[in-house]
Symmetry: none
Subunit: 108 residues, 2 copies
């Protein structure tokens, strides 16, 4: 894992320059931006977002950049995992129309 685990109890997470993590409000705003269509912001957008979010806590452009990159990747991973899970029993994509058929019977 990380290096400073043992030794005397220096709290790596508390005050010094550990890795950035968003404050709750920053996270809320980032998620909202993502939802509204900002998936891969340009560097201009990144700087703008960072400077406005700086009001809620320390943040840099690269943090914003990484956040969007990671968030997009993880959303994709999540969906991939679900789809694989779903089709695990059958192999192909042939069973992908599943629930629609099932539901259609009583859907009028």
């Amino acid at each position: 894992m990380y290096e400073g685990t043992s030794n005397t109890g220096f709290n790596v997470q508390s005050q010094k320059c550990t890795r950035w993590s968003p404050t709750p409000v920053q996270l809320l705003v980032l998620e909202e931006l993502y939802r509204q269509g900002t998936k891969t912001p340009s560097s201009e957008q990144i700087q703008q977002i960072a400077s406005q979010l700086r009001r809620f806590g320390k943040i840099e452009g690269k943090n914003v950049f990484y956040w969007f990159q990671n968030h997009k990747a993880r959303e994709r991973q999540k969906r991939c995992r679900l789809e694989i899970e779903e089709t695990a029993s059958t192999e192909g994509k042939k069973e992908h129309k599943l629930s629609c058929d099932i539901l259609k019977s009583n859907r009028e």
Copy 2:
């Protein structure tokens, strides 16, 4: 419980149910399947489960589909009641207004 104790004894399961509800045995089997890893069954699985469970009472594929959807969602709800950030009481309103500004400026 289920059957009426005395003279009002209409069999609840037999005739006049608008919406399905699982018999105890059906519920046990569904829960066991879920516990064993069937979270979002494919349509094939759904049909198999339904026809096996039909032995214990009236049931359709869509009932199975809905049951897994609801069960998964509600299990998740009960396991995820942390991180209520929404409004941090005093700071909440002020920060919310500001985040709206941020979103507006970045929207287009």
